[in-house]
Symmetry: C2
């Protein structure tokens, strides 16, 4: 399938929905210069093609009881073990994102917890279920996060 570049109109739609995921079709139609129906159809197609993976509310970690964010680097205890770490970690809800990376470590996780004790417990669970050693970098503050990319 067509990889890489998005058609300019789809690009415009996607940009608007990245900036405001609740923008109405009416609003989108005006901004991109199409009829409401046309926009509607394009958005559905973008969703089906997986260009748009979904919509989400961006939340304030402090105010929802998860004030502690951390980045955790994973290094396998047994380098010969099969690489099924994502599957092993998927069920741990505190893990927001999981990246497979090039470099010294194998994976980097972004996690959110309620307290230092919660982090300690989370690390114990991660090491146990995935048989890895961990290196944790605590986030002190978040100047900005989840900004929408410029297409």
């Amino acid at each position: 399938m067509s990889n890489g570049v998005l058609e300019p109109l789809d690009q415009a739609i996607v940009r608007e929905l990245a900036a405001d995921g609740r923008r109405s079709f009416t609003d989108l139609a005006e901004r991109v210069g199409l009829s409401v129906s046309a926009v509607h159809q394009r958005v559905r197609r973008l969703e089906q093609r997986g260009v748009i993976r979904g919509y989400t509310a961006r939340l304030d970690g402090e105010q929802i009881g998860l004030p502690l964010t951390a980045l955790i680097s994973l290094t396998p205890n047994d380098p010969a073990a099969p690489d099924d770490y994502p599957q092993r970690l998927e069920h741990i809800s505190e893990i927001e994102s999981c990246y497979s990376v090039a470099g010294d470590e194998s994976y980097i996780l972004l996690v959110r917890v309620g307290s230092p004790l919660g982090l300690e417990d989370l690390l114990r669970r991660i090491r146990e279920v995935a048989k890895v050693s961990t290196r944790t970098t605590v986030v002190l503050s978040t100047p900005f996060e989840g900004r929408s990319p410029t297409l």
Copy 2:
């Protein structure tokens, strides 16, 4: 202000909107067991209080022309310089998130670019504008990302 814990009803609403940012008020009302108006009012209040910071479409980096993700650690060249890095970096649109962290480095950035050349150029700009040295970890794949937290 009330910090930390959210009222159970607000918690339920926030959880639903994290899972699907386009859920309708009607839908939300059914799921949390309130009238549409009550939900409507609560959502507006959550937005005003900043618990909900906004809504966004989650996009597939590959399909929007930004297939290369990286984590960049920043270390100040001059440790005595004033700490205004976030301000200096804010205008660089490739930087999706900026975390101030405890540990060897001062900041960790999550960035998305179109190509290795794009990454090279981005690194040059970051070093130039922020007077930092950088350490880059390239993301090979993303098993999962941006999952909504369990409240």
